[in-house]
Amino acid sequence: MAKVLIPTPLRQYAGKQDSVELSGATVGEVLTALTAQYQDLRAQLYNDAGKLRSFVNVYLNDEDIRYLEKDATPVKDGDIVSIVPSIAGGRPVMTEPAAAGLSPALSKDEVLRYSRHLIMPEVGMEGQLKLKAAKVLLVGAGGLGAPLGLYLAAAGVGRIGIVDFDVVDFTNLQRQVIHGTSDVGRKKLDSAADRMIEINPHIAIDKHEVALSSDNALDILKDYDIVVDGTDNFPTRYLVNDACVLLGKPNVYGSIFRFEGQATVFAYQGGPCYRCLYPEPPPPGLVPSCAEGGVLGILPGTIGLIQATETVKLILGIGQPLVGRLLLYDALAMRFRELKLRKNPECPVCGEHPTVTKLIDYQQFCGIPNQPAAAEATFEGDIDPVEVKAKIDRHDPFVLIDVREPFEYKIGNIPYARLIPLGELPKRLSELNPDAEIVAHCKSGMRSAKAVALLKQAGFRKVRNMKGGILAWSDKVDPSVPKY
């Protein structure tokens, strides 16, 4: 026999007893016996679908049965089963419907459009109005921003802001499905907004054509309920995180690399933030970007849609948000894993004694010197692709080395060049004559600059870097060489 303790307010449904002795081999059987004996109690503990109400926790002695074997947890003689409500609360983090100026109703067109939402009790009219009142900011209209923009627009999120200052190019189309071939050369903001309005004309879109920075981030983010991070670089990721923590906005995070992705919700209702997970950025250059390492085109679709799902759940206030859990996705193994994330009490931005109380210089924080982008970087002794072509045509005695990887060489190459991947260069120095004039090139000029530095260190004197790499070669010398 097990003893079930009845909380005060429920005793009226249990013959005014404060405890009931029942038999059963498992907790489930004991509860079934209890509600069979006291049928009015059933409606208090279970919902119409026959599931325990969300606020009802069942304890066996002092353990929550969710962490034992749930309903199947075995019960011994003399065990005590307690019914304990879960209680929490606090001031709202998100704009409450009443404060958000809800439109009183949906139009006839909108009712039709959202009918598959409206017939689900978890969404219903109330939920759809919450979506309509919601204001979500997408940071980036690229790989992650594309599925996010499409589905959040379709779902009826009333106001969607997009921060992006980039232009659509051909290399985007493999994954950024919000843009089409005819959009190449257009601003991503315009291309994305047109597509979203085409999907759903009942929503409003704010275009923020800026690079998010410490100067403008708080001002842009403050008007939104939820921020969705679809950025591809560390300085912006820390910037978005810190701004969200400072403003008390949830940060729906996603990141992708090659075949793997991550997603979680940061800074929501006391949960951990990005800095709790990664207090320090990796050294610059250690983690390659998608432009350097590549990305499976479908991957941002999967991760972006997980972000979109979490965003909609936060707005509706349903389900278990992905808070305190880092979801890891491996497309090759087709496996999801989950890591538990804890809030770090020492966290410099969301901990108990924060030291970061305003936005900082994130470029500097991530160890990135303020220099122009790779393609325009000028290194000492740079040589223009046009001049390299002239040297080849003049039959000048010089060696052109291509320090890219073999698979890049296959995409397109300069026939005159010799392939020595950067990683192999140190042990293949003997193949090169230290007195010869050497020009190195790669895709855009970054890796070949490293090669030049390495050769100079090894005693090579006449070494130069071909400015802008094979991309510039394609632009200025031979357009038949494909860009990638």
């Binding site: 303790l5 005060t8 109400r53 307690s82 209680i87 609360g89 606090g90 983090v93």
Partner: protein, 138 residues
Amino acid sequence: MIRIQPDAWREMVAHALATYPHECCGAMLGSVDDARKTVRIALPLENASEGERERHYELRPADLLRADKEARDRNLDLVGIYHSHPDCDAYFSVTDLKNSCPWYSFVVLSIRKGAFDHANSWLPDAEQTKAEREELTY
């Protein structure tokens, strides 16, 4: 309606002021006579939220079990839960509602700039969709 006796009320306000600017939370023990509740003892409990306690509170189920036992031992009932809203009105927020249960009265104390401002008591429904205001005297 719910009536909080002076000693219990002083305890609750003192607790809310002591934890300011964090939210406090605790249990209210007393008796129920039809729909009239009388709170005789306030039992301060720890805010177990791991997050921003300025805007969030969480009751440990073990503490709630202890409060229930305490009530049984004193021949009283656990009749409600109280918590504070620092620098915020004493309304029942969506967060409060979504983490509530319909079995108890929920008293919210508004503390502004470190001083007691006002309080309300709420009765949430079982579906966690709305909360009714309950007449409160103290």
